[in-house]
């Protein structure tokens, strides 16, 4: 191959390569401009030869590009730009007139020092490679990776939630067995309380009788001899008989009250856990509410005043233990909705073949963006460790199993109202007459 | 009569490179020092006529040597030979009494030209 042939070949390559090639001298005057540059810039080599790069293309980032080219002149080394950091050097139209997807041709540029025999850099040659297609693929790849990363993250979250759910289940099993224990204890306490109660009744009667007798003795006191009278009044004084007389009745009354309280708690505990009678029953929802309130009274006493507006609806076929659970969750949620103290209103009523219960609070309310999510399992706005976000989802499922509806109305700053709607009949108890019979019983 | 030359550089290779750049037929006796402190000791013995001095060295660097020499009357010709070829370095050593600054790697023609220019080599 001779030199002339080589030059022709080199010229051909520079001209025809799908690569922008141009060169500048140390004064940034253009000394080479190939066909690719011509096509995309609309300016021909002839019109540009010798003109200054920056006056011809004022849109170029002059300060930066000058430094860059100067450093190639000074150091005699390559320099680069990549579309990832700098989308393009020249704003050229991309080669996707139909398919589109980018705003301009993305370019990788290389700055090459062209040295003379002494090693001094004479020109800097700059090549522009169109990377649009590669870049698009890479961008899509990056997007795909982001999506799959996102999915992996979600899976990770789900795993954590599953773990939580497992713990929760464990927790509720524990609760159930605590409930059973409580019911067992309640059952055991029931008997001694029974005879304490009846003994107390006898004691009260006996004391009343004794007092009657005492009254007669007292009325006959004046008829006794002087000495005996004196002895009696001394003893009366010593034991403060007048006070004992008054206090006896009070003591017995207080004991009866206290015992009554214990009996209610025991009964509620048994009621609430329903270990003795599970499954579908005909129940009085107002009694369910009362039992639940008794169980959670400690929880809510300092946070809320409870107001009952009962409409005395008919009895309902349901699983009372579960309905109690729903009520408890709603009441506890309500009591947690107050920054300080508030009011919880419990209403009942009848609507066609349904009975409804409303649990209303005048707490913080629920923002509308949360309203669709509160029934989701694990949705909670409460601090970690306080709420698991399972309460409402459990409620929702229980009510749905009862073929009822659980709905909510809420206004931020005003409060929330949860409404349970339950069908009166299910036919789950076999004999529907039984239910009807129950309904005809006067309340 | 032979000229007494002291080459000061911490790098043995640099000292070798400098020796090779000196005119081959020049009548000289060469001593070497590998840091500034050593260079000052040899200088104080009084025989050194021409010193090639590197700038970056342990113990006392080239600037430190120049300071001492200046304080003691500068009784020899100092040519700084350094890889730090920025104009500021050159200006500084010339202000401190060096007669010339030669960048590393030392090029023999350049060195001889400097020597001739100052009448050290005839």
């Amino acid at each position: 191959m001779n030199d002339e042939y080589n030059t022709i070949l080199a010229d051909f390559i520079v001209e025809r390569l799908e690569l922008g090639v141009f060169a500048v001298d140390a004064q940034f005057n253009i000394v080479l401009w190939n066909r690719f540059m011509h096509t995309h810039s609309g300016k021909s080599a002839q019109s540009l030869k010798g003109s200054n790069l920056f006056t011809t293309f004022p849109e170029l980032p002059e300060s930066w590009l000058k430094r860059k080219i100067e450093s190639v002149f000074a150091l005699g080394n390559y320099a680069f730009t990549s579309w990832e950091q700098r989308a393009y050097l020249f704003r050229f139209k991309h080669n996707r007139p139909i398919t589109g997807g980018v705003e301009a041709m993305l370019q990788n540029c290389t700055f090459l020092p062209l040295k003379d025999e002494k090693g001094k850099v004479e020109f800097v040659v700059i090549t522009l490679q169109d990377c649009t297609d590669n870049a698009l693929i890479q961008q899509r790849l990056a997007e795909a990776i982001t999506i799959s990363d996102e999915e992996r993250r979600k899976q990770q979250e789900l795993i954590v939630k599953l773990e939580d759910a497992k713990n929760q289940l464990f927790q509720s099993e524990k609760l159930a067995s605590i409930g059973q224990l409580a019911a067992g204890v309640a059952h055991e306490i029931n008997n001694p309380i029974g005879f304490v109660n009846s003994n107390l009744g006898t004691l009260e009667r006996n004391v009343t009788d004794l007092m009657k007798l005492m009254a007669v003795f007292e009325s006959k006191e004046a008829e006794l001899p002087e000495a005996a009278q004196q002895e009696l009044s001394k003893i009366k004084k010593d034991i403060d008989f007048e006070y004992v007389k008054e206090d006896l009745a009070a003591l017995i009354n207080e004991s009866k009250e206290g015992l009554g309280h214990v009996r209610r708690i025991v009964a509620d505990l048994k009621d609430f856990s329903r270990v003795d009678q599970s499954g579908w029953q005909i129940a009085d929802l107002e009694k369910c509410i009362d039992t639940t309130l008794n169980v959670v009274s400690n929880e809510i006493r300092y946070k809320a005043t409870v107001v009952k507006e009962y409409g005395h609806p008919p009895l309902v076929e349901c699983v009372p233990g579960q309905i109690n659970q729903v009520l408890m969750n709603l009441v506890v949620n309500a009591s947690q909705a107050f920054p300080e103290r508030g009011q919880i209103t419990l209403r009942t009523g009848e609507e066609g073949m349904y009975v409804w219960i409303e649990v209303q609070d005048d707490g913080v309310g629920i923002p509308s963006e949360n309203l669709q999510r509160i029934f989701e399992p694990f949705f909670t706005t409460k601090p970690v460790g306080t709420g698991t976000g399972l309460g409402l989802s459990v409620c929702y499922n229980i009510v749905r199993k009862h073929e009822g509806e659980l709905t909510v109305r809420s206004e931020v700053g005003k409060g929330s109202c949860f409404r349970i709607l339950l069908p009166i009949f299910h036919g789950k108890m076999g004999e529907s007459e039984e239910l009807e019979a129950a309904h005809s019983v006067p309340q | 009569m032979s000229v007494s030359v002291l080459i000061v550089d911490d790098s043995p290779i640099a000292r070798k490179m400098l020796r090779r750049a000196l005119p081959p037929d020049w009548d000289i006796t060469i001593q070497e020092a590998s840091d500034g402190a050593q260079a000052i000791d040899i200088y104080r013995k009084g025989s050194v006529e021409l010193m090639f001095l590197d700038l970056t060295m342990p113990n006392i660097d080239g600037y430190g040597v120049l300071e001492v020499l200046q304080a003691e009357g500068l009784n020899c010709i100092v040519i700084v030979v350094s890889a730090d070829v920025q104009p500021q370095a050159r200006e500084r050593v010339l202000a401190m009494g060096a007669i010339a600054f030669i960048p590393k790697p030392v090029n023999p023609e350049g060195l001889q030209e400097v020597l001739r220019q100052y009448g050290i080599l005839v």
Binding site: L65, R67, Y78, F80, T110 | I13, A83, Q86, K104
Partner: protein, 204 residues
């Protein structure tokens, strides 16, 4: 003596690096129109597992940004540039960037700086031993990294490397950049041959 290079070879490398750096510093001063101070190159043979510690010892315990570039030809290796996050904007100004930098520009600064420093230093050394060296396009290692995370020894393709570190300081702007040239141990032989050739020219 550096493991893999004999005493003469390491002394020669030290001096050639010195000269190469001096020229690099001069070129940079020319481009940046600022006085550039270069530290004496520190050369060491290091185990791959010790590289993170080495980087930490150069820059200290501060968040850093880093980029890399490969070179090939007479000898092969990679250069790393490590700068502290604080110095990044100052470097950008030196390189002609104007105003606040966006994320892409910050990355570009890091790529530019490794290209310029690496080119100047490796080029300087290569010229001393008359080797032809070419460079690949630089790439980013990361921003705001712990110095120990710049190099992950587990991903390295080598067991030991020759490390040559230089610290650049631009005095008027109190900017510092660390350049680390890493040569895989199986390339040290090629460099040793080049150094021997150079030493021969001194003995002849």
């Amino acid at each position: 003596m550096i493991n893999g290079l004999n005493e003469d070879q390491s002394a020669a490398l030290q001096e050639l690096a010195n000269i190469g750096m001096g020229q690099a510093g001069n070129s940079l001063a020319l481009i940046w129109k600022e006085f550039v101070h270069l530290s004496i190159p520190r050369i060491a043979m290091v185990d791959a597992s010790r590289l993170p510690d080495l980087i930490l010892s150069f820059v200290g315990d501060t968040a850093v940004s880093a980029s890399r570039q490969a070179f090939h030809g007479g000898f092969r290796g990679e250069v790393l540039v490590v700068v502290t996050a604080r110095d990044r904007n100052g470097l950008a100004q030196l390189m002609g960037y104007e105003g606040q930098l966006d994320a892409a520009e910050r990355e570009e600064v890091l790529l530019d700086i490794v290209n310029i420093l690496g080119g100047a230093c490796v080029g300087g050394i290569a010229q001393q031993v008359s080797a032809e060296i070419g460079f690949s396009a630089p790439s980013l290692i990361g921003e705001d990294l712990d110095p120990l995370d710049v190099i992950n020894p587990e991903q390295l393709a080598i067991d030991t490397a020759l490390s040559l570190e230089v610290c650049f300081q631009v005095e008027n702007r109190s900017l510092t950049a660390h350049l680390v040239i890493l040569l895989p141990n199986n390339e040290v032989g090629a460099l040793a041959d080049l150094l021997d050739q150079f030493l021969c020219t001194l003995e002849a």
